[in-house]
C-alpha cells in the first residue's frame, strides 16, 4: 500500500472495500502483483481524494479515512 502510517489492518481492509465499492478498485488476487496492487490502490485513493476535494496524496491519512467513514449513497462515485 502507499505510505501509510502504522494503521491497523482493519482500516486498510475498510479502505480497500470502500475503493472496490465506489472507485472501481480491483485487487490483483495473485501475490505476484503485490507492488502493482499498491500502486493501483494509491491511484484510487488519489482519485477519491480529488473527488472529495481532499489533499491529493495517495496516502490513507486520517482525513481520507474519516471521509470514507461518512454515511453515504451506495452508488459508485466513478465507474469504468
Amino acid at each position: 500500500l502507499p505510505v501509510v502510517p502504522e494503521k491497523e489492518k482493519e482500516d486498510i481492509q475498510f479502505a480497500q472495500k470502500y475503493l472496490e465499492n465506489f472507485y472501481d478498485f480491483k485487487e490483483e488476487k495473485s501475490a505476484l502483483f503485490k507492488s502493482k496492487n499498491l500502486n493501483l490502490m494509491s491511484e484510487k485513493i488519489r482519485e477519491m481524494q480529488s473527488f472529495f476535494g481532499l489533499e491529493v496524496t495517495g496516502e490513507l491519512n486520517s482525513q481520507t479515512l474519516d471521509m470514507m467513514k461518512q454515511p453515504r449513497c451506495g452508488i459508485p462515485d466513478v465507474r469504468s
Binding site: F51, P71, R72, C73, G74, I75, D77
Partner: protein, 401 residues
C-alpha cells in the same frame, strides 16, 4: 454533476412510481409526503410528471430492505451505505432501495437520516444523474444533514437534470384542473406532483414577475396564517413571514401546492383543524400542509352562496367566535364553522358593521386580536370585538420596509 455512462434517461415525461413498503421509523403518511416532496423537487425544474401507482409495475419502485435484498448490492447495517438507486431502464432500472437498518426521520435530527433528503438524492439517480463532486450539491455522495423546511435544489443539480430533460415547459398551469378520479381503478388514482397542464387560450404569454417587498404599490390577492406563519399571495408568488426565521421568505405557490399554481382570490386558516381553505373563482380547496384533501375542489355554492356569486374577494376566520367572514364587493357574509352554515341576515353592508371600511376588501387576516383588511396598497387594522377601525397602514408594513 455527472450522469451514468451512455446517459440513460426516461424517454417519456410521464414517469410512474410505487411505494412497495414502509419503514416502522415513520408514519406512513410522512413517508409518502417525504417521497412526494422529493419528486416535486425534480418535477419543478423539468418537464417530468410523476404519478403514483398503488399496484402493478411502476417505472420507479421504492422499497425499504436490510442486508441482502436480491440485488448485487447488499446493505451494510446502520451507517455506511444508506440507500442506492438504479439508472433509468426496464425492470430494476430506476428503482430506489433504502437501508431499513438506518433510523429514518421526517425532520433533520442528529441521530437519524432525513428521508426526504436521501430520497431526493436517490431519485436523482433514478432519473439518470450520477454523483456530483460539488460540495453541498444534492447529488454529493455523502449525507449532509440540513434544514429542509424551505429546501431548494442547488444549481449544480438543476444543471445536471436539465442536461438530461431540459427545463420545465413555459406554459403556466391551467387554472385548477378538476381532480376527478381518472379512468384507472380507484386504487390507482394518480397523485400528480408536477405543475404541468395544457396551455389554454386564456393563459397570459408571460407570467408577471414578483414585486419588490417594499414596493409602495404592492397589493395582495389573499393572505392567511398557516401554522404560526403568515402567507401573503400575489399571482403565483408567496411572501412568507415566520417566527422561525428573520426576514421574508419568497416562494412560488407551485413549490407548496403544484396543482394550485395560478394563485388565489381568498384564503383563511382554521387553526384547530390545521386546515387552510383556498378560494379561486367559484371553487375552493381545503389543505393540510402540503396535502390537498380528497374530494376538493368544491363549488362555493356548497357554503351557501347563491349562483350569482362567482368569486370571493377575501375571507377571514375569527378563532374565538368560530365564524368566518366572506367579503364580496361591498357586502360580507358570516359563516358558522361549527354548524357549517351561513348565518341568517347576511349578506350585510361591510361599512354598516365595520366603520371606516367603505370599500371592497382584497384580502383579510386575523392576527394578535385584530382583523387586517387590505384594499390596494392600504390595510386597515380593526378591533375584532368592537369592529372599530384602529389605524391605517401600508399593505406591506409586515415586511419591515
Amino acid at each position: 454533476y455527472s450522469t451514468f455512462p451512455l446517459n440513460p434517461k426516461w424517454k417519456k415525461e410521464d414517469v410512474t412510481y410505487r411505494i412497495l413498503n414502509y419503514t416502522p421509523d415513520m408514519l406512513q403518511d410522512d413517508v409518502e409526503e417525504a417521497i412526494a416532496k422529493a419528486f416535486q423537487l425534480w418535477s419543478s425544474v423539468t418537464p417530468l410528471r410523476f404519478t403514483r401507482l398503488y399496484s402493478g409495475e411502476a417505472d420507479i419502485m421504492i422499497s425499504f430492505a436490510s442486508g441482502f435484498h436480491s440485488d448485487f448490492y447488499s446493505f451494510d447495517g446502520p451507517g455506511g451505505t444508506l440507500a442506492h438507486a438504479y439508472a433509468p431502464g426496464k425492470g430494476i432500472g430506476g428503482d430506489a432501495h433504502f437501508d431499513e437498518d438506518e433510523n429514518w426521520t421526517k425532520f433533520t435530527t442528529y441521530n437519524g437520516y432525513n428521508l426526504f433528503l436521501v430520497a431526493a438524492h436517490e431519485l436523482g439517480h433514478s432519473l439518470g444523474l450520477g454523483h456530483s463532486n460539488v460540495f453541498g450539491a444534492l447529488m454529493y455522495p455523502v449525507y449532509m444533514a440540513r434544514d429542509t423546511r424551505n429546501y431548494r435544489l442547488p444549481q449544480d443539480d438543476i444543471d445536471g437534470i436539465q442536461s438530461l430533460y431540459g427545463p420545465p415547459r413555459k406554459s403556466p398551469a391551467k387554472a385548477f384542473p378538476s381532480q376527478e378520479p381518472t379512468e384507472m381503478t380507484p386504487t390507482e388514482a394518480p397523485t400528480e406532483t408536477s405543475p404541468h397542464e395544457e396551455p389554454t387560450e386564456m393563459t397570459p404569454s408571460k407570467p408577471p414577475t414578483r414585486a419588490d417587498d417594499c414596493d409602495p404599490h404592492l397589493t395582495f390577492d389573499a393572505i392567511t396564517t398557516l401554522r404560526g406563519e403568515i402567507l401573503f399571495f400575489k399571482d403565483s408568488y408567496v411572501w412568507r413571514k415566520s417566527p422561525h426565521f428573520t426576514g421574508i421568505e419568497h416562494d412560488t405557490i407551485s413549490s407548496f401546492w403544484p396543482s394550485l399554481a395560478a394563485g388565489f382570490d381568498a384564503a383563511y386558516e382554521i387553526d384547530k383543524k390545521d386546515q387552510v381553505i383556498f378560494f379561486k373563482d367559484d371553487q375552493y380547496w381545503a389543505v393540510n400542509g402540503y396535502n390537498i384533501q380528497p374530494g376538493f375542489p368544491k363549488p362555493i355554492q356548497n357554503l351557501g352562496f347563491s349562483k350569482s356569486v362567482r368569486k370571493i374577494d377575501a375571507a377571514v376566520h375569527d378563532q374565538t367566535t368560530k365564524k368566518t367572514y366572506f367579503f364580496v364587493g361591498h357586502r360580507y357574509w358570516s359563516f358558522n364553522e361549527n354548524t357549517q352554515s351561513m348565518e341568517r341576515g347576511y349578506p350585510r353592508k361591510i361599512a354598516a358593521d365595520f366603520h371606516g371600511i367603505d370599500h371592497t376588501v382584497d384580502a383579510a387576516l386575523q392576527k394578535n386580536g385584530h382583523f387586517y383588511f387590505f384594499h390596494g396598497s392600504k390595510q386597515y387594522e380593526v378591533d375584532v370585538k368592537t369592529k372599530k377601525l384602529i389605524r391605517t397602514m401600508q399593505s406591506n408594513s409586515w415586511f419591515d420596509c
